[in-house]
Subunit: 222 residues, 2 copies
Amino acid sequence: MLTQAMPSTIRRDIARPRVSTLALAGAIEQMGAPMSYARNSEIYGENEAADYLYKVISGTVRTYKILNDGRRQVGAFYSAGDMFGVEVGDTHTFSAEAITEVKVLVIKRSSVIAAAQRDNAVARQLWSLTGRELQRVQNHILLLIKTAQERVAGFLLEMASRAGGNEVELPMSRQDIADYLGLTIETVSRTLTQLENSAAIAVPTARRIVLRNRAALAQLSI
Amino acid sequence: MLTQAMPSTIRRDIARPRVSTLALAGAIEQMGAPMSYARNSEIYGENEAADYLYKVISGTVRTYKILNDGRRQVGAFYSAGDMFGVEVGDTHTFSAEAITEVKVLVIKRSSVIAAAQRDNAVARQLWSLTGRELQRVQNHILLLIKTAQERVAGFLLEMASRAGGNEVELPMSRQDIADYLGLTIETVSRTLTQLENSAAIAVPTARRIVLRNRAALAQLSI
DNA sequence: CGGAATATTGATCAAGATCAAAGCGAGTGG
DNA sequence: CCACTCGCTTTGATCTTGATCAATATTCCG
């Protein structure tokens, strides 16, 4: 559910998109209006109409599902540059929440779809976004069938590759990580300690991880 | 890798697709040429060029990846009516094998992409196929975080819903099921026995399962 | 019929969950 | 500024689930 009024510019901007503009790479995000969400606020809920898609400007977002028995499965973490909320059907299959203070571009789905009708490049981009999501979910499956060490190592490498260095500032809690990896917080915590003891990583503060031995981590995350 | 010569009709059929035909629902499969694969033969390999997509006419196909340590993860089972091998990038992300004798329609990817350029309906269909695949992989994730009983019950319900009755003839081996569910064959076998003992299912022969108490199974597969 | 592949069952082991307690750190109010 | 509290994280002890190792049963074919 949108918790803020949509900026008035959004309707004007996307009601008459110019094809020449849309044909450019990154056309979709040009239809967006900026919006902010507070820490832990909901961006949209599972099964809600997927009227908007989103591109993260800053901060981190988690998507998740609550299972019948109360467990939570985190589907993905999205940070600056990532798009989320792109659905082929017309409802969201996950809920989305801001992990930190988050700024996003909010893009009206109907406009993107309309643009895709007219403009092949947009259609192709939309398809490509779904394809990227598919790839990511498939990788997530490969994580979930591994041991705890492999999952945590894989997670750290994934986060580090996004951050682009050997130091990772984790915006999400141990509970978020556990729910993403299909583990408990205790197991995540213990596994981090093991990795630290084996000199693969350092954990100066709970939310900051330094990759000391990437090769060892990669080895683990077979 | 294609293990059979492509029927000569395929080039003629898809080189000049008529737009009027393609605009119809199911346009994509009209570009296909029939082909058969023997039990356990490879249809394509991981990382091969995704030159073709496929629609199952009869039989069952499994897709899978072999992990570094030799384990195999089965990604999906496809049976009559299902399309597989649809990639957004230009290589296959999984390998595909015939579980039984399989008949498929083989459809040239470049022709579909070309048709999608011209015809919006085809582009939309292509997107929709990828979306369906995404949905399926997301459900797979939800299966993988559950207990053995929940996974097996969920699997049986999934198979039954496709077969459309209470009796399921499983074309795949216990090893296939285990590799799909992230379990061992022993656990799959034991779990089936437990479900049989609790009167949720009957197992007249190893490959035939009768759902006796769907509610109990649904309960389990939370 | 015989042999190989597939499936079931049993015994034991280990990884991760669960239950429980203590430690740490950031923000708050006296 | 310090002490206190609340939420998050770590650590410890024990239990449970599913893996592993091993043997037997069944099915499918040539």
